[in-house]
C-alpha cells in the first residue's frame, strides 16, 4: 500500500511543478483539478479499515476539489473572456526550477527535523510543505486574479496533505466544514473577480492600486 501512496504523492508533487510551468490558466485549473482528485484518494489508501465517514469525506473532497471548484473557476473565466495567459513576474522555467529546488530541499531537510518512524510521515510532511510553498510562489508571482486564486487552492491542497497525518483527530463534521468554507471562499472570490473585470476591464491585480498610502 505504501508504494501506491508514495507514487500518488510523487504525482501530486509533479503536478505542482507542471502547474508552475503552464502557460494557460485553463490548463493550470485542470492540473489543480487532477491534483484534487488524487488528494481525495489518498486518505482511502492510507488506512486499511474503511469506515463510512472516511469514505464520505473522501468522496466530498474529490467532488469539491476535483470537480465543483474547478468548474466554478472555469465558469468565472468563461464569463469574463480574459486573455488566457498566466503572466507571471518570474518566467515559467525559472519558477519551475524554483519549485523543484523547494521540493528537493524540503525532502532533504525533513529527514533532519522529523522523528523517523518509518511510516507515512517521512513523505507526508515534506510533500505538504512543498505544496504549500508552491502555492505561495503562485500567489506572489502571478498578476492575474484568477491565477492567485489557483495559488490559494494549491496552498489549501498542501494543508490537506498535512491533515492526512491527523485522520483520526479530525472529525467528519470539521472536515466537511473546511471543505465548505473552501468552496464558499472560492465562490465569493470568483464573483469578486468577475466584478474586478467589469470595473477595471482587466484581471490584472497590478491595476488594484487606487488604495494606498
Amino acid at each position: 500500500m505504501i508504494n501506491v501512496f508514495n507514487s500518488l504523492l510523487v504525482m501530486i508533487l509533479a503536478l505542482n511543478l507542471l502547474a508552475l510551468g503552464s502557460r494557460s490558466i485553463l490548463s493550470v485549473i485542470r492540473i489543480i483539478a487532477i491534483q484534487g482528485i488524487l488528494l481525495g484518494i489518498l486518505p482511502l489508501i492510507l488506512h486499511e479499515g474503511l469506515s463510512i465517514p472516511q469514505v464520505v469525506a473522501s468522496l466530498t473532497a474529490i467532488s469539491m476539489k476535483g470537480v465543483v471548484i474547478p468548474m466554478v473557476m472555469i465558469h468565472a473565466m468563461k464569463n469574463i473572456r480574459i486573455k488566457r495567459e498566466v503572466e507571471p513576474i518570474i518566467g515559467f522555467v525559472p519558477s519551475s526550477i524554483l519549485g523543484a529546488v523547494i521540493t528537493g530541499s524540503a525532502f532533504l531537510l525533513s529527514n533532519q527535523i522529523t522523528v523517523s518512524t518509518g511510516g507515512y510521515e517521512n513523505m507526508i510532511i515534506p510533500a505538504a510543505i512543498t505544496t504549500i510553498l508552491v502555492g505561495f510562489i503562485q500567489l506572489i508571482t502571478r498578476y492575474k486574479a484568477i491565477s492567485q486564486v489557483v495559488g490559494y487552492l494549491v496552498l489549501e491542497n498542501g494543508i490537506y496533505i498535512f491533515s492526512l497525518l491527523l485522520i483520526e483527530a479530525i472529525p467528519l463534521i470539521v472536515e466537511m466544514g473546511m471543505l465548505l468554507d473552501l468552496f464558499v471562499s472560492i465562490f465569493i472570490i470568483s464573483i469578486i473577480t468577475n466584478h474586478i473585470n467589469n470595473a477595471f476591464s482587466s484581471l490584472d491585480t497590478r491595476r488594484l492600486t487606487t488604495l494606498k498610502e
Binding site: I159, M178, L211
Partner: protein, 477 residues
C-alpha cells in the same frame, strides 16, 4: 441555547433574502440584535446552560467576547436600520442577510471548544463579511474586498496549518492527536516543543491577520476605509475580538506547555511593531476612515502586549477588549455619519463637522480623546492598567516605547480629527440632505454612556466576569 443563538440569526438571514421591500428588510437587523442580546443575557444568568457537549462550551473568556460583541451588535443594529434608510438606492438584500447571519456565526466562534470548529467559524465570519465591504459597489470597494478576501484567506489558511501542527505536536509528544481544546490543555505538558512553537507562530500569523496585527494588517485600511462605517464598527469590534479569542486559546495551551517565555517575547515584539506601524501611518493621514483603521491596528497591538505581559495584565487586557470595541464602535459610526454628510473622507473636503453634524462631530472628537487614553473614559483605564502591569513585570524598554507610541498616535490622530471637526464647512462641498437622525445618532450616545460608565465606575458584575476569565486563563488544568 447555543443552537438558538446560531440558528435564529441564520433563519432570519434566510427571511431577509425573501423579504421584497428594501425599506422593511433592514428592520430584521435590530430584531436579530435584540433577540441575540436577550439570549446572551439569559446565558449569563444561567451558567448551567453554558455546557452543551465537549465541543460547545462557553467558558468565561468566551462569555466576555460574546457579551462584548452582542452589545456592540445590538447598538449597531439600530444604527444599521437607520443607515440603510439613507441608502435605499442600493439594493440591501445581500447586505442585510450577511449582516444578520454574521452574529449567528460569530456566536459559534465564542462557543467552540474544538479548534477545528473555531477555525471554520472564524473563516466563515471572514466570508460573510466580505459582501458587507462590497456594499458601495465602487471600484475602490471591489479592490478592498479583493484584498480582504485574499489576505484573509491566505492568513486563515496558515491558521489551519497551525491548528494541524498543534494536533500533530500531540502525536509527536506521544499522546493521541486531537483538536479538542480541553484535551490539549490537559495534555499540554506532553506536547512536542518544536511543533508547538511552529504551531504557535502559524496560528499567530493566521489569526493575527484576522486581528490586523502588523505586518499582516495590509487589508485593514482598505477594508475599513471603503466599507460603510457600520461595517467598520462590526469588523473592528467583532471579527477582531473573535480572532483575539483564538489567540488567547493557543496562548493558554503554550502556557500550560511551559512555553511562556517563548510566546511572551514574540507577542511583545509583534504588539510593539503594530503600535509602531500605526503611529507611522497615522502621521499626516488625510483619510479619516483609514486613520481609524490604523488606530484599530494600534489597539490590537495593545491587546497582544497585554497578553504578552501575562496573567497580571489579563484583567486589563480583557477590559481593553470591551473598552476599545465600544469606543471604536462610536468612532466608526460617527465617521460613517460624517462621511455620509460630506460624501468624502478626505480632510481636504471634510472640515467643520461639528457645525454640520453637531452630535456626530462632537462624538467623533470625544471618541478620539477616549481611544487615545484620555481620562475619564474606559480605554484610559484599560490602556494604562496594561502599561502599569508591563512595567511591573519588568518590561521597562517596552513600557517606555508604549508610552512614546501612544504619544505619537495621539498627535497624529489629533491633527486629522481636529481638521475634520473644527473649521468652516467648505462652500463647495456636495450638498447632501443628511442630518443626524434618531437612529443614526442615538447609538453613538449609547456608546458614549457605556465608555463613560465603564471608565468611572465599573459594574461589580463585570469585574466579577473579568476576574473569572483571568482565573480561568491562569489556572493550570
Amino acid at each position: 441555547m447555543v443552537y438558538f443563538q446560531v440558528i435564529i440569526p441564520i433563519a432570519l438571514a434566510l427571511v431577509a433574502l425573501v423579504v421584497p421591500s428594501n425599506r422593511i428588510r433592514p428592520w430584521l437587523i435590530p430584531i436579530t440584535g435584540v433577540i441575540h442580546f436577550c439570549l446572551t443575557l439569559w446565558l449569563l444568568f444561567n451558567p448551567e446552560q453554558c455546557y452543551v457537549n465537549s465541543w460547545l462550551i462557553l467558558d468565561p473568556v468566551g462569555k466576555i467576547i460574546l457579551l462584548n460583541v452582542s452589545i456592540l451588535y445590538l447598538v449597531c443594529s439600530f444604527y444599521a436600520a437607520g443607515y440603510l434608510q439613507y441608502r435605499l438606492e442600493n439594493k440591501n438584500r445581500i447586505f442585510v442577510a450577511c449582516f444578520v447571519a454574521f452574529i449567528g456565526i460569530f456566536t459559534l466562534v465564542c462557543w467552540s471548544y474544538n479548534l477545528g470548529v473555531m477555525w471554520i467559524s472564524i473563516e466563515a465570519t471572514t466570508l460573510i463579511t466580505a459582501p458587507l465591504i462590497y456594499f458601495n459597489k465602487s471600484t475602490q470597494s471591489i479592490e478592498a474586498t479583493w484584498k480582504y478576501l485574499m489576505v484573509g484567506s491566505v492568513g486563515i489558511a496558515l491558521a489551519l496549518l497551525g491548528t494541524f501542527f498543534l494536533a500533530y505536536s500531540a502525536i509527536v509528544g506521544g499522546t493521541d492527536a486531537s483538536m479538542d481544546f480541553y484535551y490539549l490543555l490537559k495534555n499540554g505538558g506532553t506536547l512536542n516543543k518544536g511543533w508547538l512553537q511552529a504551531a504557535f507562530i502559524l496560528l499567530l500569523i493566521g489569526y493575527g491577520t484576522k486581528m490586523g496585527l502588523a505586518p499582516m494588517h495590509t487589508w485593514k485600511p482598505d477594508a475599513y476605509g471603503e466599507a460603510p462605517g457600520i461595517v467598520g464598527a462590526i469588523l473592528s469590534g467583532g471579527v477582531t475580538s473573535g480572532a483575539f479569542l483564538a489567540i488567547t486559546r493557543i496562548w493558554q495551551i503554550c502556557n500550560v506547555a511551559g512555553e511562556t517565555a517563548f510566546t511572551s517575547k514574540i507577542l511583545m515584539g509583534i504588539g510593539l511593531f503594530s503600535m509602531l506601524i500605526a503611529s507611522i501611518f497615522m502621521m499626516n493621514q488625510r483619510d479619516f476612515k483609514r486613520m481609524l483603521a490604523y488606530s484599530s491596528v494600534e489597539h490590537m497591538g495593545i491587546l497582544i502586549i497585554g497578553l504578552s505581559v501575562g496573567t497580571t495584565a489579563l484583567f486589563a487586557t480583557f477590559f481593553h477588549v470591551i473598552a476599545s470595541t465600544m469606543t471604536k464602535g462610536m468612532l466608526f459610526l460617527s465617521s460613517g455619519n460624517i462621511n455620509r454628510a460630506y460624501v468624502s473622507k478626505n480632510t481636504r473636503q471634510v472640515t467643520g463637522a461639528i457645525r454640520r453634524l453637531p452630535i456626530s462631530g462632537t462624538l467623533f472628537l470625544i471618541g478620539f480623546l477616549a481611544i487615545t487614553g484620555t481620562p475619564p473614559f474606559a480605554p484610559f483605564v484599560s490602556e494604562f492598567m496594561i502599561l502599569i502591569k508591563a512595567f511591573a513585570a519588568g518590561h521597562l524598554v517596552a513600557g517606555s516605547l508604549y508610552i512614546l507610541f501612544m504619544l505619537v498616535i495621539f498627535m497624529g490622530m489629533g491633527v486629522t480629527v481636529l481638521k475634520v471637526v473644527y473649521g468652516k464647512v467648505p462652500k463647495d462641498v456636495v450638498d447632501t440632505p443628511y442630518q443626524d437622525g434618531i437612529l443614526t445618532a442615538m447609538p453613538l450616545v449609547a456608546f458614549l454612556v457605556m465608555i463613560l460608565v465603564l471608565g468611572i465606575a465599573m459594574p461589580a458584575s463585570l469585574t466579577h466576569l473579568l476576574n473569572e476569565a483571568v482565573s480561568f486563563m491562569g489556572k493550570p488544568i
